[in-house]
Symmetry: C2
Amino acid sequence: MEPVSFENVLIRRGFWEQRIRAVQQTTTWACIDECERTHRVDNFRRAGGMQPGGFEGIYFNDSDVYKVLEGVAYVLTQRRDPALEAKADEIIDAICSAQQKDGYLYTYFILNTPEHRWTDMNLHEAYCLGHMIEGAIAYARATGKRKWLDAATRALDQMMRVNGPEGQHWVTGHEELELALVKLYRYTGEEKYIDYARWLVEERGHGHLKVPLSPEIDPSNPAYCQDDLPVRELTRVTGHAVRAMYYYSGVTDLASILHEEGYAAAMDRVWGNVVPANLYLTGGIGQSASNEGFTRDWSLPNLTAYCETCAAIGMAFWNHRMNLLHGMRKYADLVELEMYNGILAGISLEGDRFFYVNPLASVGAHHRQKWFGCSCCPTNLIRFIPSIGGYMACTDGDALVINQFIDSEAEIAVGEKRVRLCTTTDYPWDGNVRFTFEGFEGDLPVRLRCPGWCTEHSLTLNGRAVVDYAEGYYAVTVRAGDALRFEMAMPIRRVKADPRVREDAGRVAVMRGPVVYCAEAVDDPGLPDEYFHAELALDRDAPLREEWEPGLLGGVVTISGGGVRLVPYYAWDNREAGAMCVWMKEA
Amino acid sequence: MEPVSFENVLIRRGFWEQRIRAVQQTTTWACIDECERTHRVDNFRRAGGMQPGGFEGIYFNDSDVYKVLEGVAYVLTQRRDPALEAKADEIIDAICSAQQKDGYLYTYFILNTPEHRWTDMNLHEAYCLGHMIEGAIAYARATGKRKWLDAATRALDQMMRVNGPEGQHWVTGHEELELALVKLYRYTGEEKYIDYARWLVEERGHGHLKVPLSPEIDPSNPAYCQDDLPVRELTRVTGHAVRAMYYYSGVTDLASILHEEGYAAAMDRVWGNVVPANLYLTGGIGQSASNEGFTRDWSLPNLTAYCETCAAIGMAFWNHRMNLLHGMRKYADLVELEMYNGILAGISLEGDRFFYVNPLASVGAHHRQKWFGCSCCPTNLIRFIPSIGGYMACTDGDALVINQFIDSEAEIAVGEKRVRLCTTTDYPWDGNVRFTFEGFEGDLPVRLRCPGWCTEHSLTLNGRAVVDYAEGYYAVTVRAGDALRFEMAMPIRRVKADPRVREDAGRVAVMRGPVVYCAEAVDDPGLPDEYFHAELALDRDAPLREEWEPGLLGGVVTISGGGVRLVPYYAWDNREAGAMCVWMKEA
């Protein structure tokens, strides 16, 4: 199946409009200010001779600038903003000024030790290049301006001359370039980018990864960088969670495009290991801070859960691609889980503060921050949230597949047709969704995902029941002017963990629709913060009631009863500091 | 009362010899290596023109070098070590090379912006000067070498010319110089140092503290630096715990020396606020990480307890001085509590790893580290532990007062007498202590502290019971050749917290003698780490038994029964990583 690009989906009201507005009005400028304050942009100016001075900050800081610009591109698609676009153009000029004559563009080595270019696979040159390519494509799609994309492809050409089948071995220490190359292929149609992505994937697992300058990486543990096995031999998830997710995203893309059965089979095996043995209820992945990644199957501590925001975003990237590959609901279910929980918790309702780490319980000391030394998470949120429209639908030949329920107006090329799809919904608070179709002639086959959490649902076409339902999808044929009404019952659900998870034994969590709930000490006073997660108890038999509270936390449905009051997990830590837990004792 | 200086007490066997040996063999060299690796020593070499380069690190890094040398001085008193002394001499040469013509010696400003000397009261010039004076006195006492002390007094003279009654106002943003000036007075007899210490104390609380260059300090909250009230008006503890303790130590010294009733009364009021409303069972103080200090009375969370190691050391400093001022047992009880718990937990048994933060519960993520960016705690432990002999006894006119039970040989000037006091004990594991007295003529009045934790005790002089006991002290007169035998019953004690501490409600902790015990998950498996501190339960009625385990944790008495196995709190996190708690549920 083919994805629908973000710029074809306009989000004008509802749950996601509220989030995108916060990103546009607050997050973009806050992140730009931080990139300026911390000299991330200055590094380009200095490398380009526009300003005196040396490199400042962490070696991969270029990527944050690229990611912020990518987010700006998505925002500009949703809403014109000349001031924001002018600032982006100025930063892009600085980036391009830093490009060397041969195309090379990575300020850490340009400013520090040019002689060390392409000598240390773990110093993130290829990672930053991938982000530059993603950002430049987004900016070209959003604005039509190609200056940055031209620079990015020249930088890529330089890399391909040095590292490749004719050059030296190269294993991307932090994966990212692979999926960016697929995007570049999709945008340009040039197959050399796919060939190179495949070469990069095939480089892994043969002991080529050398890290002479980065002693913090243990070279005896290649699994940290997913370099322990060749791609076709993968059976389980290992190492750094974000690296793993970006890698799998690229491999899954290639499996789709190249019809590589060995890749697809490997991804299926790894997916079956991640889900559910290494997945938190919220969609969080990567249990441990020590490797920012995976540990042991079924070891899922809540209080010390690392669950980096970027890893949840990576999980959405990967599952989006697994869904394109296989067209199965379970992958879109995970994208949805990340959208409303694991990812969204990473950003404050105002859009100005961020979590890097997303535990499922807190004793009160975990709070959002404005920025981080390694600030990958804010700069990933800024690009994920305004590109949410890209996850709504995809196409399968002449059929349209609707996966997510986002109030929006989309214009989608389905085969030869250009379909105007208007979606109206108060999802995730309400299970009713209305779709109308315009702008094309003839029959349009539509498949509509019914989420895995939903057990009672119905679909009507212009008021008549649709009965063709199998394996999580309704199938229906529509014509211009038709309206679909999808109704999902959205009862409060008490959920239990797999008994192999010791930390959740005897405990219960609450969900409604795709939204995971949590208890915050500010709503449930009485226990000291340090015992809140251990002792807060939900009465086993008490009825739970829901309430729409428009004035609370930007408007949420709360759940009360059985001795507790619960709010959506994504909205926690937006009031007073305090303890929090998702899994409650069952009393 | 007058203190007995560290160099008069030699510790040759027993509990403290083991700790001092680890400091000598491991900690000193480890800290010297870190000071070299992090360019803390190089900053002096650079300021002195011995090496090219600018200032590196945190502005107050000079103090760590001073503190390490102070520790080295104490170690050299206990045991000669020519290699260590040669290295110390080399570092002292580097320090002295950095001294400016006018005496100024603080590398941060010398190397960065000499024009900003003495303009920002929070950039720790006076704090570092205090540590230099303390270190230089210790080195002179230990080795007889005065080069460094001469440099330190010249640096102090420079400061006194600029800041003082004839110069500008100066509030020490981080106190420390006050108590150092008292030490310098005691060593030199020069009253100008006492006058200056008093001037510094009197400067506080009048709004003079200006912090133009240090935006991280909130100038609207002078209580952070104890600058909210003049000294005589103090009623409660505020702000940064280490600053507070160093300040109170200096004020208490002055109260003793100057007989300043206003100072003494203020210290009594503040002490009554710290103890017990802001004191953990372990002696830890300073509940919060956000101000590294105090919060609200009776708010004593265990898991997030900050309890900086330096604050516990500061608490020992202050209570040692309160004991000199008032001669009351309760102060020496607190010194003892810190010695065996709050302070000692800060260093690993090997002497190579440190805690900056000392919570009373952990979910498994809190571990000792080799060094810290701000590494005040390792460099405070290195000077506290080998100077422990200085806390054993003091003199009160012609009487000797014995406060702590340390296996040692001491030579103490008591009035005109030179008393050789030999102490033999396996304290804190065993409550029997034998004292013998030699080397003097006539009668020596002795007062012996009986610890507050002890309810059943006896003292014999050459086998005959001593019955003169009042307010925690035995009084007895000895002659040369006499032997005292002190016997303290040391039963296992179950202790409860004040009911105003919510976190400890329904909970119990275990002590034996002065030692606080804790449970570690490695000994009590079965609970997930994140619930260990909340759910570990001690049976209310079960008998508890003690066992001397020479092979465990360097030799400890363990306590078992009622479903748990306990080890001394100071020895935790010396085996596998895992959860820990002091307060257990009472079941």
